[in-house]
Amino acid sequence: MRGIVAGILLLIGTPAFAATPIEEGRYQAVLGDCAGCHGKDLAGGVVLQTPFGRLVTPNITPDRQTGIGGYSSADFRAAMKTGYARGKPLYPAMPYVNYARMPDRDVDALFAYLKSVRPVRHAVNVNQLRFPYNWRFLMRLWNLVFFHTRAPAPSNHGAAWMRGEYLVNGPGHCGTCHTGKNLFGADSGPALGGALLQGWFAPDLGGDHVTGLGGWQASDVVAYLKTGRNGHSIASGPMAEAVENSTTAMTDNDLEAIAVYLKELPPPAARASQSPGDVEQMKRGASLYRVNCSACHGLDAKGEGPLVPPLTGNAVVNQAGADTLVRLVLAGSQAAGTKWAPTRPAMPSLAWRLNDKQVADVLTYVRGNWGNRAEPVAPGTVGDIRAALQGGR
């Protein structure tokens, strides 16, 4: 069985295209988006706010004292694929559950690359979780319950689908954000069906026509991942970083493979269409929209070419929860920048101007107008999110 698994993994692992293991490894770091958590210089120190407290990412530069300079390749493989770093259990915020899919050859190349980066002396206090989550040995139990090496996908799909499936569920670890989690932080709910994570809702990547990718062509998916924007949407928030650090540097073949896989995800069960807010609320919302939003998003909400995405049929607008939308209006947001789409337009922060009722009104209007059919937003919801974002400011 393991031989068959290994054989299939070899088939769909990254084909050797670069000259050296270090070059191959650099590409593995792109696929795995190491920089997204471990920092651009890979020296760690990035704070992850989990439901269980703070985790701070470790230093994975080859510094002997504070990084992985003392690791062997077997040590590294074990950390990446079994969740044990030289015997110490890792928390699954490090997505070893996904990296377990990677063939040893790719993991070794990644290790070669990491050993080649500039060593940085940077000691990190990783485990800042609340009691009792800071008891690492509990992860042994977690692994027992939740860590199942995924069976490879059935083989009647084409090579592109196989490669895409591998990238999304393996090194790309998209489900870390896009799949719901249970109380223990393990995957739960439809795979890639969308999830709320630290106040951002990572959208459903399935086939729903409005909230998922059902309205996107495969080429739209590729454009989004490569350039940070397409005719439907523009990447911002945590996805901006995923684009800038990772997907923008993937090969076109790999991006197309991901698109093929995502476009063939099954649509979830149909959602009931929501009715818009009451007449008075819609009138207030329309007035607020005209004063605060239309100058960029258009009176017809069609957006402005490559600069501003449309709000009609927009997946973020139509999400069940309003978390992302409320955050965008209150805090503003800066979009991703890639070499194909460098602009990084930003939404201004309007928390100082709009009270909770006004935010609720304008978002309810947007979510219920121009054919959008998502549920109204309550002022209380806005207030909760505002408090969480501003820490009681």
């Binding site: 100058a295 960029c296 070419g305 600069l307 920048g337 460098p342 602009t343 337009p345 201004p348 309007l350």
Partner: protein
């Protein structure tokens, strides 16, 4: 004791329009560049917030985005025999501040000076004889139209200028300006929409036999992606253009056209809230080795560079040269010296007319949505029987209806009290303005130097401006007032009034921030500060880029020509200078 920093390939003083264009072009060529900017970092979403940008008091009256005189003031006088005193507040002109400079809060009008401007001395002498321009210090610029045309094109496509070409490679285009010099191709975006007054002006001007056309402008008529891949939005005619940043990415500025690409480059660094005190030269004075600057806490640094680009705005460019000993101070008494000469301004007058029972909605406006006639501009009309040279663009170009500043009242309305309100209400929706923005030609006694008495917060002498409107320009402007009167009457207005310029320039009421000259480009190192590539004649690794290079000012807003000169200088630096540092022109 200034802390010495690692050397850069190029040190740029100022990160406004010219600084950003030079930085982008030089970093593209692989140079390691630092731009040192006195003012703060500025950014659309953070600083031009769509909720509070529309604050007339803060930005238009209290001038929040502009340079505050406490940081740098200037002294002025009208004639050399007077004592210059400080402009304790800026009035007549308002220099910019911060990243993007005045490019953040300009109106956006973007012109090309004419072919005849670049060789004005040759042109006018040939047409009218030397006597016609006696007393004017007009000079050829040293660059020809054919040489600089591609640089105009580059700036216009960078910005996404909205306009209608009038002359493409010699073929006149209907709907455009028949007087413009030949261009290679159409504008990147079609003209803006416009409001009612410019359309009325268009009709009247046509009936009078003139040739009105839409102003070319950097407010975008539609979404656009510029050659750097940067996306911009569509102007929404908000009426908060000049003096304000643009909240929706629809006005060209360094922020909206260059910085997203420039700031991502590892070989570029922006250092803000740092003021350059001077350029340090080698002992023989023939090369720049570094600049000295102070940061926000007053700590001094020395930043060495292989070359120094002075991109600090026309007036500050000249002051920096004088403070650093680059070139020699011009003396109007002797005519000697190549820095400080040919200072020019803008010679403008206006007419106001009142219609009746109209809804002109002055608050619906963009910075450059006007209609213009160039029938009386430059040398586009025969001056043989006139007692002046030069001319003016005549426009109806409303840009706002902001009520603190814009409250036109019909003649006879009191300025306060019982009748004031009624006249204000009546005037607001019925007033129209037409203006003549005229050329400003250099004379011996209009010049810039360092003030002997007043200094800035660092103890450096302030720039001293000696300027009054030359008799030639006064005559030209009065002629334009006559034309404005003729046009005003053709509207059959309820009433109208026409202003006539006074010779003594008044530094108090706002007129124009088109200060030009002082470090002019030219063919002769004795009568110009920089050569045709804007390279200092005296210190070849210093380039001085801005309207300071204008040998005269035309009857047009200067930014289009400033942008073109920036691209032109960048081209010379990257194509010629980098490989062979040294003087590019041997006079």
């Amino acid at each position: 004791m200034a802390r010495l920093l690692p050397k850069k390939d190029a040190v740029i003083i100022g990160l406004g329009w010219t600084g950003a264009i030079l930085a982008q072009q030089l970093t593209e060529a692989g140079l390691d560049v630092v731009a040192i900017e006195r003012g703060p970092w500025r950014d659309t979403a953070t600083d031009f917030n769509i909720g509070y940008m529309q604050d007339e008091l803060r930005y238009a009256i209290r001038k929040d985005l502009f340079l505050n005189p406490v940081l740098e003031a200037m002294t002025m006088r009208n004639r050399p025999d007077q004592t210059a005193l400080p402009m304790r507040d800026y009035g007549s002109f308002l220099p910019g501040h911060g990243v993007g400079g005045a490019g953040v809060h300009w109106n956006g009008k973007t012109w090309r000076f004419w072919e005849s401007d670049f060789q004005i001395h040759t042109h006018l002498t040939r047409r009218y004889g030397a006597d016609k321009i006696r007393g004017l210090q007009l000079q050829d610029w040293g660059v020809t139209w054919d040489e600089i045309e591609p640089s105009f094109d580059a700036f216009e496509y960078l910005c996404g200028i909205s306009g209608k070409a009038g002359n493409i490679k010699g073929a006149l285009q209907p709907g455009g300006n028949p007087f413009e010099s030949p261009r290679a191709r159409e504008y990147p975006n079609p003209p803006l929409k416009t409001g009612y007054p410019p359309m009325l002006f268009d009709k009247v001007a046509r009936e009078l036999g003139y040739h009105p056309f839409p102003q070319p402008t950097a407010n975008l008529s539609r979404p656009y992606v510029n050659p750097l891949g940067i996306a911009m939005g569509e102007c929404t005619y908000c009426g908060f253009c000049e003096r304000f940043g643009c909240a929706n990415y629809s006005k060209a500025s360094a922020q909206t056209t260059i910085l997203p690409v420039l700031m991502a480059k590892p070989n570029f660094e922006a250092r803000t809230e740092c003021e350059v005190l001077k350029v340090n030269l080698t002992a023989d004075g023939k090369a720049a080795k570094s600049v000295t600057y102070v940061d926000a806490r007053g700590v001094e640094y020395e930043q060495p560079g292989e070359m120094v680009l002075i991109c600090a705005y026309s007036l500050m460019n000249v002051r920096m040269m004088l403070l650093s000993g680059i070139g020699t101070q011009y003396d109007p008494a002797t005519g000697k010296g190549n820095v400080g000469r040919n200072y020019c301004y803008q010679t403008s007058c206006g007419a106001r007319l009142f219609l009746e029972g109209k809804h002109l909605n002055p608050f619906i406006a963009s910075g450059g949505m006007g209609r213009t006639i160039d029938d009386f501009n430059g040398d586009g009309f025969d001056h043989s029987h006139l007692n002046f040279v030069g001319g003016a663009g005549i426009s109806c170009d409303p840009s706002n209806g902001r009520p603190i500043g814009y409250r036109p009242t019909p003649p006879g309305t009191p300025r306060w009290g019982a009748g004031w309100k009624k006249g204000t209400v009546e005037g607001y929706q019925n007033a129209m303005n037409i203006g003549a923005q005229g050329s400003s030609y250099p004379v011996r006694e209009n010049y810039l130097d360092l003030d002997p008495t007043y200094s800035d917060r660092h103890g450096r002498p302030l720039l001293r401006i000696t300027f009054s409107f030359p008799d030639n320009d006064v005559a030209m402007s009065h002629y334009m007032s006559d034309q404005l009167e003729k046009i005003a009457k053709a509207f059959n207005p309820k009433s109208y009034s026409v202003a006539r310029i006074q010779k003594d320039w008044n530094s108090v009421p706002y007129q124009s921030t088109h200060n030009t000259g002082g470090a002019i480009m030219g063919e002769n190192p004795r009568t110009s500060a920089v050569n045709k590539y804007l390279q200092s004649w005296d210190v070849p690794n210093v380039f001085v880029i801005g309207a300071s290079a204008f040998a005269h000012n035309a009857g047009m807003n200067p930014t289009g020509t400033v942008g073109a000169l920036a691209f032109w200088a960048a081209k010379a630096i990257t194509e010629k200078y980098i490989n062979h540092p040294g003087a590019l022109v041997h006079a």
